[in-house]
């Protein structure tokens, strides 16, 4: 990650190069992340193809409105994130601060809804190994679905939390005047990450919430 001062580090010739390198680094990292989540979603589809009915049956118990509200929250937060980058690029620091705060707020709302959903799942007895109970007529495969559900959403929540941490860090840098129209690569890099987290949810949403409701 580029240093906080507005001089390039020794290995870079210019600040512009430093910014460009940081961006490339994030893109490469996201390629890795894509395969990480990709492997999980691949696992899901394997079972979905092997046991179409059983998985659909299990997925009916997922709380649809929670997932749907959350997709709205995250998509909106991606918009506010881009607006924050835009403001930072134009040197409008207070506007950038406002948009960043909104992004953070939306991210927190996402986690709140997610937490509520976990509580609902618990009372619905679908938490594997904790209180899982097969509903009448369900195949044991449905427990596999719930393992997938908790692994996928749990990992995603960790990513959202990391993103929030990065956003707060960027906010701090912005307030300290270490991001300016001349050098705003850090906020762009965090924006890339945040959009990725959003995109992952777009892929998880249909596998979890829409599978049983065709």
């Amino acid at each position: 990650m580029p240093s906080a001062t507005l001089r390039p580090e020794t290995q870079y010739a210019t600040l512009a190069q430093q910014g460009e390198v940081a961006q490339l680094g994030m893109w490469v990292f996201l390629a890795t992340e894509t395969l990480f989540f990709g492997a999980l979603i691949f696992t899901y589809y394997l079972y979905r193809l092997s046991y179409p009915e059983a998985i659909a049956e299990a997925a009916k118990d997922a709380v649809l409105w929670c997932g749907s509200v959350n997709i709205g929250l995250l998509l909106t937060s991606s918009l506010t994130m881009v607006l924050a980058i835009n403001a930072a690029a134009q040197g409008r620091r207070s506007a950038a601060t406002g948009w960043l705060l909104m992004t953070i707020g939306l991210g927190l709302c996402f986690l709140g809804v997610k937490g509520y959903e976990y509580v609902a799942d618990y009372s619905d007895h679908v938490v594997p190994a904790v209180n899982f109970a097969l509903k009448p007529g369900e195949s044991p495969v449905s427990e596999l679905f719930w393992v997938y559900y908790f692994v996928a959403t749990g990992l995603h929540a960790i990513h959202v939390t990391t993103g929030l941490g990065l956003l707060i860090y960027i906010l701090w840098r912005l307030r300290r005047g270490r991001i300016s129209a001349a050098y705003y690569a850090p906020i762009e890099v965090v924006g890339l990450y945040w959009s990725f987290v959003d995109t992952v949810w777009i892929f998880l949403y249909p596998t979890i919430y829409l599978a049983g409701r065709t």
Binding site: S50, Y51, P52, E53, A54, G137, E138, S139, P140, V141
Partner: protein
């Protein structure tokens, strides 16, 4: 008889001979390749050692033609080996219906065999020479792998599914049999013997076991005991598919797919029926997963299989 420096395994069975020929061919090709590379390197190293008088003039600048040349040559050579090997593999792993079908259960750390006549043995498999033997494997715990080095055949035995393998040997004798998939502490002792006998000797061996109930007959008893006959029996009022003639047929499932009713399918249907509902029938069959052991399961399947043979021969037992 002890060979202190054995170089090559004892080879038996049709499979063993066919695979062995390919192994010999590949060993020869490999040895030639390694030798060629080694000789070329040695020649260059001696001829062009620093300080030698050999001329270094006219280093080749353009190398594309040579490189494309040997890339193509290698590729063609490789493709030939690939085709040869793939052909054998397809032949090895698509088992024909066997003269004798033997059910094998692998568990930590033994092999259990069940003959069609109901005879059972552990870590030893008696088979007649000259007959096609089809093995159906299942595992009671972890993944094992069934390997007879002399026949050069091997197949993993995976829990939760059935695998098959076949062989046909005319040479009587005793052959080593091994587990080649690490399966725990005593993995190295999960070995046994395949005893290939003259058919008459095999018949005698079978009768000497003193078993009077065939595998299918034992399965029929279980079919009643587990309550299967209550729904799948001929006189049942429950709307459940009849099992006569099911084995080997193509089954249409509720989700639109079609599956061949082989051993693996029947197994899935018994254990997790809800995931494989047959088209046109209500999903009412209870789950038997965790309630039927691998041995009993194989007996049940042997019984369902016998129903199919009965139907084919037009001798309706029910």
């Amino acid at each position: 008889m002890r060979h202190w420096l054995p170089f090559w395994p004892l080879i038996s069975a049709k499979q063993g001979v066919v695979v062995n020929n390919l192994v010999i061919a590949e060993v020869a090709v490999s040895a030639l390749t390694v030798l060629a590379v080694f000789l070329m390197m040695a020649t260059f190293c001696i001829r062009y050692r620093r300080g030698s008088q050999a001329s270094r003039a006219h280093l080749r600048e353009k190398t594309w033609r040579i490189e494309i040349g040997w890339t193509t040559a290698t590729l063609i050579g490789f493709l030939a080996l690939f085709v040869w090997g793939a052909g054998i593999y397809v032949w090895l792993f698509q088992s024909p219906p066997g003269d004798i079908e033997i059910y094998v259960v692998g568990k930590q750390w033994m092999w259990k065999f069940q003959h069609p006549g109901g005879q059972r043995e552990i870590d030893a498999l008696h088979v007649p020479a000259g007959k096609t033997i089809r093995l159906v494997f299942s595992s009671q715990d972890v993944i094992h792998s069934f390997y007879i080095p002399a026949f050069r055949i091997k197949h993993d035995v995976v829990p939760g599914t059935y695998e098959t393998l076949w062989f046909n040997t005319t040479k009587t004798g005793v052959y080593r049999l091994e587990c080649t998939q690490y399966c725990g502490d005593q993995h190295a002792t999960m070995t046994g013997e395949v005893i290939v006998m003259e058919p008459t000797a095999y018949e005698k061996w079978l009768t000497d076991q003193g078993v009077h109930q065939s595998l299918a007959e034992q399965g029929e008893a279980l079919f009643r005991q587990y309550g299967c006959s209550g729904c799948h029996g001929a006189n049942s009022t429950v709307h459940a598919p009849s099992l006569v003639g099911v084995y080997g047929s193509m089954v249409h499932l509720q989700d639109g797919s079609v599956r061949r009713a082989d051993e693996a399918y029947l197994r899935d249907c018994i254990l997790t029926p809800r995931t494989f509902t047959v088209a046109g029938y209500p999903p009412i069959m209870p789950n038997f997963s965790g309630q039927i052991g691998e041995d009993d399961l194989m007996k049940l399947i042997a019984y369902i299989q016998s129903l199919a043979q009965g139907a084919r021969h037009g001798d309706d037992r029910r």
